[in-house]
Each structure stands twice: as C-alpha cells, then as structure tokens.
C-alpha cells in the first residue's frame, strides 16, 4: 500500500504550487474577480501552456491521459491558491462529457479548443426545483424534423457568462424524475430564444440563469444518443465532485495554516492566542477535520481510478465529509481570527466564502448522506 504521488504527479503539484505562490497573488485575484470577465484570460492561457487544461483528456483527444489522481492534484493545488479560473466547468464538466459522449466530429471541433484555452464552456444541469438531483429535469427537447425544440430554465450555471458553448441537459422523453429520457445538447448561447442573466456568486465566480424559449437546435448538436445521457452525466458529476472536494481540501489546508500563523502572532492578555489551551484544542480539531477529509479524498480518487464497484458510494462518502469539515474548518477559522476574519480585505474570509459555496456544489451533506444510504 502506497499513498504517495508518482514523480510526475509530484512535479505537477510543485508546478501549480509555484504558480500559485508566485503569481496568483491575493490582490491580483481580487482585481480579477471584480472585472467584467471575472477571472484572468492570461492565467487561463498559462494553464493551457503548462498543460493543465489538457491533463484529463486522452492522448487521442490531444490530452495527457491524466486520471482522477492527477485531477485531484491539480484541484487541491488550485484550491490552496483560491484560484477562480473556471477549471471544473470547462475541463471536468463540459470537456468530460464531450470526451465521453462526443462523436469524432464533435471532439475534433471542440476538444482542441478547450485544451488550448481558446473557448470557454459550461454545463447547464440544475433547475430551480432539482437542487442536486441530476435526474430531475423539466427542460424539454422535442424532435422537429432535423432539429430539436428546447424549452426550459436552467439555474446557477457555473461559468455561463463566458461560455462560447453550453451543454444543456434536457428531457427528450419520460417524466420529471426519470433517469431515462435525458439528452445533452451543445447550445450556442447567442442562438435565438436563449437568454442569459449573468451575475457574480458570493465566492467570486460567475454564473447565469438561462431561459430557453422555443430554441431550435440542429440534431447534429446532440451529444451522445438520445435519451441515454444519465449515466455519463452522473459519472462526470462524480468526477467533478472529486475535483471540487480536492479544491476544498486545499482550501482547508491553507485556512488551517493561515489561522495557526495568525494565532501565533496575535497577542491578547499578554500572550499569543496560540498559547491558550482552549484555542489549541480547537485548532487540533480543525486539523483533524482536514485529515479525515484527506483520507476519504485519497480513497475516493483510488476507487475512481480503479473503477471500483463502490466508487459512487465513495464519492458520496467524500462529499458528505467535505460538507461537514468545510463548515467546521471555515467557521472556526473566522472565529479564531476574531473581527479580522470578517473583513473583506483579509484573505481568510474569501477562502471561507468559497469553502461555503462548495458545501452545496454537486450536493450538500444531506443529499450525499441519502445517496450513500441508498447505494
């Protein structure tokens, strides 16, 4: 048994860590999230040049054949830097579905541009009533000659505002909650009948509400075969759940470090905060919350790599733990910072905000506890 990273994975980690420490400075990030785009296109180009965008794709698709562990390494390191550039929506969600389901033609058209950072994409899967249930889809697509007519509404679509193409989950048959009958369409957001309302999220990322009204989409934009998208969608969301859990772990590790450092320097009653036993114990607890999460993250990455029978269950176990630990570590880090923790000018609060949104993304603790029990 060996939990250590391969030499290549260690190099990947070192290279992202060096980028984050040297170039991804807090004030630069803050400036970028307040810009129209919401992130840096220069940094995105850097990610492409360094091969990070191509990592999860097969060599045949122009990538580096990376697996779940490589993805974990990337996201954990990006998490430490509180990197806001939309890796998960582009690479894991949209890129993942195209490489899984796309025709040779679709792959050839889209994947090289995703890997080179030339285009931005996203996946529109959630709806106001669906919360985290991937099968809960009201948005409909009806065949009309060579086209499909799509009607519906998609909620909080990550990276929607920048996307050149959006993969929309729509129902081609069945009832609202059926797993059968789901199809994916690559939709041009400027197409007639598609309207986006763009906004910023509290964590600095950008998202859209998308209304689809009588949108005519050529059948060539169907991704995969009609009505059978669910299992690929679930697999990709599971991988994205691993990715965002790794991001959360990087954030927690960093928050624990920042907080420990703060308590070693902040003095009250003539002593550093770190000298008070009541506070020491609490930092031990947040450290243990991080360790518990790390263990499940590694387990989950290994099971996804091996395609184990219980991989799905491992994903839900992991995301449940992430939800619990994120709340614990996040809230305690702020409390231990006192008033400084709630100011906009210090980085800890911004780590906290991202960690808090991650608690819900791809399913909160309740959702994954239920899924774990059911599997």
């Amino acid at each position: 048994m060996d939990f250590s990273l391969s030499e290549e994975q260690q190099l990947l980690k070192d290279s992202i860590t060096a980028f984050v420490d040297k170039d991804y400075l807090f004030d630069v990030r803050q400036k970028n999230i307040n810009s129209e785009l919401g992130y840096s296109s220069d940094f995105w180009k850097t990610f492409a040049d360094l091969g990070w965008l191509g990592m999860p794709f097969s060599e045949a698709d122009g990538g580096y054949n990376g697996g779940p562990i490589d993805l974990m390494v990337i996201m954990e390191s990006l998490g430490r830097g509180l990197v806001v550039e939309p890796y998960i929506p582009n690479i894991v969600l949209a890129g993942g579905l195209i490489s899984k389901l796309g025709s040779d033609e679709q792959k050839a058209e889209l994947l090289p541009k995703i890997i080179s950072g030339e285009i931005q994409m996203s996946l529109a899967f959630s709806e106001p009533q669906s919360r985290f249930d991937l099968n809960d889809v009201i948005t409909s697509a009806k065949k009309d000659g060579d086209n499909y007519i799509v009607d519906g509404y998609k909620a909080v679509v990550m990276n929607g505002p920048s996307s050149n193409n959006i993969i929309v989950v729509a129902r081609t048959s069945g009832n609202q909650l059926d797993k059968e009958g789901l199809s994916l369409f690559v939709v041009d957001p400027s197409a007639k009948g598609v309207s986006l309302r763009n906004y910023s999220n509290v964590d600095g990322s950008k998202a859209s509400e998308i209304t689809l009204e009588n949108v005519s989409i050529p059948a060539s934009s169907l991704l995969g075969s009609e009505g059978t998208a669910f299992s690929a969608l679930e697999e990709v969301i599971d991988l994205a759940t691993l990715a965002i859990s790794a991001e959360a772990l990087g954030i927690m590790e960093k928050m624990n470090e920042i907080t420990l450092e703060y308590t070693k320097t902040r003095e009250q009653f003539g002593e550093t905060l770190s000298s008070f036993q009541a506070l020491q114990h609490r930092m031990v607890d947040t450290f243990m919350a991080y360790e518990q999460t790390k263990s499940l993250l590694l387990m989950c990455a290994a099971k996804l790599t091996d395609k184990s029978d219980d991989a799905k269950k491992a994903v839900s176990a992991l995301k449940y733990q992430v939800g619990i630990s994120a709340k614990h570590v996040g809230e305690e880090s702020i409390q231990l910072h006192g008033g400084m923790g709630v100011t906009d000018e210090t980085n800890i609060g911004h780590y906290f905000k991202r960690l808090t949104t991650i608690r819900a993304i791809f399913g909160n603790t309740d959702y994954h506890l239920k899924r774990y029990s059911a599997l």
Partner: protein
C-alpha cells in the same frame, strides 16, 4: 409555578401590537420584509415614532423619560417589535450612552446629553475596541492627555458600528499608564465633528459597510465631557457590558425567523414536492427549534428572577452564547434551504432594480446574513470570553 402571562400583561401585549400595526411606516416595513437595507433616516424615523409615544427609552428610569414598565412588559414589548419585523433599535445612544450618563454623569451632563438621545436628534457610536485590543479590552492604548481645560486624544478605535452616521462617540481612553491596566482608563464623550476625528469604512465579507475605523489625531476634548471620575472608566465599561449583553441573544427575532423558515419549506420546490418533504432538513429545523425553546425559557427564568429584584449576572453570558449559536445555526439552515440559490450575490442596487432577483425572493439576503452573522460570536465579548466569565463567576473555577 405559573408560566403564563397575567390578564394585565396580555392586555398590554394587545396594546403594543395594535400600536405597531397602526404606526409602523409601510415603506420601512416593505424594506424590512424584502431584505432591502434600511437607511439612517428610516431608523431615526421609526425610533422617533416610538419616542413620541414614550416607548423608546423603555429601560430608563421614569424621571429621565423611561416607561416604568415591569420586566415582563419590557419583554413583551421587545417580542412584539421583533415579531413585526421592525428595524432593530440602535443601542449605542439609548441602551449604552444614556444609562451611563444618567448613572454616572453630573446634572449638567444629564441635561446636555439625555434629551438628544431620547428624541433621536443625536446619533451615538461606541469607541471601545482598538486594533490591538479585542477580547483584551483593558489593554487599550488610546491616550487622553490633560492640557488645561481640555484632553488631547490620540489613538485608533475599530469595529465602530455605524460611525459613518454618528454625531458623537463615547470612548474608553487611557488617562494614565498604570501597572494594573484596568486602572487609568476614563470614559470620554467626543463630538465627531471635532478636528482630528476621521472615519474610515471597513467593508465586511458580506459586502456591507457597517463598521469603521475611527482615527483620533490630536483631538481636543473639553474636560466637561469626561463622565465620572478620571480613571473610573473601567467600572463604567463593566456596567455597560452588562447592559450590552442583555438581549444580545436576540431570541424574539429568532422566533420570527424560524417561523419564516418553516413557511419557506412549504414554498420551496423540491422535485415534485417541497422542501418540507425532506426529512433530513426538517430534522435539523426541528432540533434547532427545540434548542431555541430551551434558550427562550432560560431567558424567561432570568427575567422572572429579575422581576423579583435580581440583577442580570452571568446568565447574560449564557444567553449570549446560546442566542448567538442559534442565530448562526439558523442563518446556516437558510443557506442550506436554498441549495445553489444561496450563491448569487446581489448588490444593494440589484435588490431595488426592476430586473428582479435571482431565485426565490428572499434568497438575496440569505448568504450575506450567514456571512455577516459570523460576527455575533465575536462581538459584545466573544463567546470564548463569555465562557471564561461563566467558568469564573458560575462554576467558580
């Protein structure tokens, strides 16, 4: 044991309820109910309405314009105000500076400062915390040096809530450097218009501007603005902190908010049903409600003891810890209720724009509230300090 209100109390409750129903301005109510921030004018307007009725300085002795209400009546009044979702009364003048002035001030000081507070003509803020003095308040460094009939004040105050609106600030300042740091502190009232006073906003993680830094640079303060003896400031501070802690649990507002969340669970769609069909979520809501019930009855026990002439002691620390735990827990449940719709950030301009909100109407304030409410376990004596108080004063360790 009799845990119900008397006939007379119930009659009083009805009177308060109908007064609020008839006099709470619709425009302010609309803002409060829709999560649009209220302005300084709104708050002053509402406080003046209460003041005109004689229901503003409820805790003050009658001779200074107080109500003479029983403890139970005051409790009922606070409950009704919260229940109707009225703006929280700003405590700095009426609950803090006022009681200090009528308790420790000279006749001249009472005549000078109390009317402005009770009539809402003067807005006060609190100059306690400093960048280096948070939980360890007595380590404050702001210096006041006597120079003839003035003090020259130099230092920095922080976390000063609503200082951007304030006309006056009450400050703890060091008039003497002593071995025991609690000695040598004095209580000084400073006009914010005095040259050398500068207010700088601190933006918090929810994006709001509530608190400030207040810089004091060679500020000249007349000696007649000193309250109590020079060096007696720490006793006044201790007196005031007890005042600040009563009601800090915010139980009445919690009762209103938990009721609202329960309503919301019947409105928020989930699959083919509603959030109320989610057992795990409802379990959490019910657990929190039970915890709130316990805190409510703890508060009632304290009130009953005070009615019989007791003083709020370490009980206020218990209520502070439990109340703020509940406030934070409930704000988190609201976040969970929304799923992804807790994430969009709406600026103040977005809230009043015609474009409409993202997701359910109430969603816009939910995450900001959760983030902002991290403060409640930090301010007013952090919950760690409150635990120290309970350990020492109740458990005797």
């Amino acid at each position: 044991m009799n845990l119900s209100f008397s006939e007379e109390d119930l009659k009083f409750q009805g009177e308060v309820r109908s007064f609020i129903a008839e006099n709470y301005p619709a425009d302010i109510k609309n803002k409060m109910d829709n999560g649009i921030p209220v302005s300084k004018d709104d708050i002053q307007n509402w406080q003046r309405i209460l003041s005109k009725k004689g229901w503003f300085a409820v805790n003050w002795p009658e001779e200074y314009g107080g109500t003479g209400w029983s403890i139970t009546q005051k409790h009922i009044f606070q409950n009704e105000l919260a229940d109707a979702n009225t703006p929280t009364l700003v405590p700095f003048g009426v609950s803090m500076c006022g009681p200090v002035v009528y308790t420790f001030g000279t006749q001249e000081q009472k005549d000078r400062f109390l009317p402005g507070i009770i009539n809402n003509d003067v807005w006060w803020c609190q100059g306690y915390s400093e960048p280096g003095s948070g939980s360890d308040l007595a380590s404050l460094k702001t210096k006041a040096v006597k120079d003839g009939d003035h003090y020259i004040v130099n230092g920095t105050k922080t976390w000063t809530t609503m200082a951007q609106h304030a006309d006056w600030i009450f400050c703890l300042v060091r008039t003497e450097t002593t071995d025991i740091k609690q000695q040598g502190i004095s209580f000084l009232l400073i006009d914010m218009k005095t040259p050398g006073v500068e207010v700088k906003p601190i933006i918090t993680i929810d994006g709001s501007h509530e608190v400030n830094m207040v810089y004091l640079d060679n500020v000249k303060v007349p000696v007649e603005n000193l309250i109590g003896e020079e060096g007696a400031g720490w006793n006044i501070a201790k007196f005031l902190l007890a005042h600040e802690r009563t009601g800090i649990g915010g139980i009445p507002a919690l009762k209103r908010e938990i009721r609202r969340l329960r309503e919301i669970t019947s409105e928020l769609p989930l699959g083919e049903g509603f959030l109320k069909d989610d057992d795990l979520f409802m379990d959490k809501l019910n657990k929190l409600e039970i915890d709130l019930l316990a805190a409510e009855y703890s508060e009632l026990r304290t009130l009953a003891a005070m009615s019989k002439g007791g003083h709020p002691g370490p009980e206020s620390s218990i209520l502070k810890i439990k109340g703020t735990d509940l406030q934070q827990g409930l704000s988190d449940l609201f976040v969970e209720a929304l799923g992804y719709y807790a994430h969009p950030f709406m600026s103040e301009d977005d809230l009043i724009s015609n474009e409409g909100r993202i997701g359910p109407d109430f969603a816009a304030n939910v995450m900001p509230h959760y983030l902002n409410y991290r403060k409640v376990s930090i301010y007013g004596g952090s919950n760690e300090i409150q635990r120290n108080v309970i350990a020492k004063a109740v458990l005797g360790i």
